[in-house]
Symmetry: C2
Amino acid sequence: MVRLDRALIAGLPLFSGMAPADLDKVLEGATSRRVAKEGFIFEQGGEATSFFVLLDGRVRVVKTTPDGQQVIVRYIVPGEVLGIARALGRNTYPASAIAVVDCVLLAWPERLWPEFAAAFPSFGANTYKMIGQRLDDVQTQVVEMATEQVEQRVAHALLRLVQQTGKKSSDGILIDFPISRQDIAEMTGTTLHTVSRLLTAWEQKGLVKSARQQVTIVAPHRLRLLADGQTDSE
Amino acid sequence: MVRLDRALIAGLPLFSGMAPADLDKVLEGATSRRVAKEGFIFEQGGEATSFFVLLDGRVRVVKTTPDGQQVIVRYIVPGEVLGIARALGRNTYPASAIAVVDCVLLAWPERLWPEFAAAFPSFGANTYKMIGQRLDDVQTQVVEMATEQVEQRVAHALLRLVQQTGKKSSDGILIDFPISRQDIAEMTGTTLHTVSRLLTAWEQKGLVKSARQQVTIVAPHRLRLLADGQTDSE
DNA sequence: CGAGGAGTTGACGTTGGTCAATAAATGTGG
DNA sequence: CCACATTTATTGACCAACGTCAACTCCTCG
């Protein structure tokens, strides 16, 4: 068994404030896991056996309705936690997690969560913070969906992705993983057609550049104005 | 100072599993508070000083957008907790809480939350469960907003209210607090006009009965079918 | 009794979804 | 390396859901 290096997790918000020796103890319970692009990390409705930290890659968290429609709940970037269903009192996963690109994760059995929370005080506090942040995010999303037009919602979604995974490129800021029109539609509750039309319109105005499974934000500031409801007199 | 009786909180999920002596300790930090109908319990953006348990009444939790639009995030019924912002790492309230009818609450200074969590293990576990439930609720709401038509969303909202606060009456199940068309609209991201039209249509079909600030569900099962997308061939 | 809040309803217009056809890019097997 | 299938994206035509605007009624409270 390969010994995992504590440097892997030392910098993560969830483990911040913990002593090096404690980090080693945490790592004793962990196993590392690779998941190929488009592979499932866990599936909606499946028994919640493990929770994860993403070390490398991108993960898409998706909820599927009984009639098969999909909604992308969030994207996960390295350093974030996923699959903490049981820690929150559930014993099945409420959504599916899918590798957007090849991914590397650490996995722990769910039963260790309460042990960690009991043994390491900062772990518990960090958890509350993280969940609080997440609750906030999703509540903001509800407000957006209730009050904004599609154009604003899509703009907000792109800006959030840029914030999370933006990478400077020659043309502007690139969303650093493959993302289709369909994906954006599933994040914002619209259709790929409408997203396509919006992106081409924005491209003509010089706000974004897009290609197959790729979006670059050229003028973030102007996109933000649009997202916040400026009717963009042009 | 009036001594509060531990029976007030003994039955609540948040405090379940705690010893009577511990309940008394918890109550030592509490003060009771009355808020008149339409009064604010706390305000969005205000410094988070206290968290609360609702003992009697109904509370509406509302988020207001920069341009003044309102979204009703949830309704609180007796026994539930509200205002736990700081426990989740925030120091301002992310929404406003307004008494829908005259209310009685218990209030604790926010700084006691971590103390309770540290001193009483079941308190921490109960908190996780509660937050988990709430996260789940609001995520379900996002999925609904993304995939359903207005009619289904309104139906789901009413069914949820019935579940939470339904009271048997001669005509069916009454939503047991004053609720306007505007309120329902703010829960579902639509307009009072559309809600009004839906309710009159449903009333003609015998699904509901409505009056000023009052809704009674006559045929919950048929409303559920409608909510779940049966196009209701009639 | 008057005013303001809540609700209803009609007419109309717009947003954005549906349907359909086509093109471009990517992967696959021979 | 080419032919073909598949996935992704674009774009036009059409239309329905639902929001907007406006007028009016009814209830409740002071």
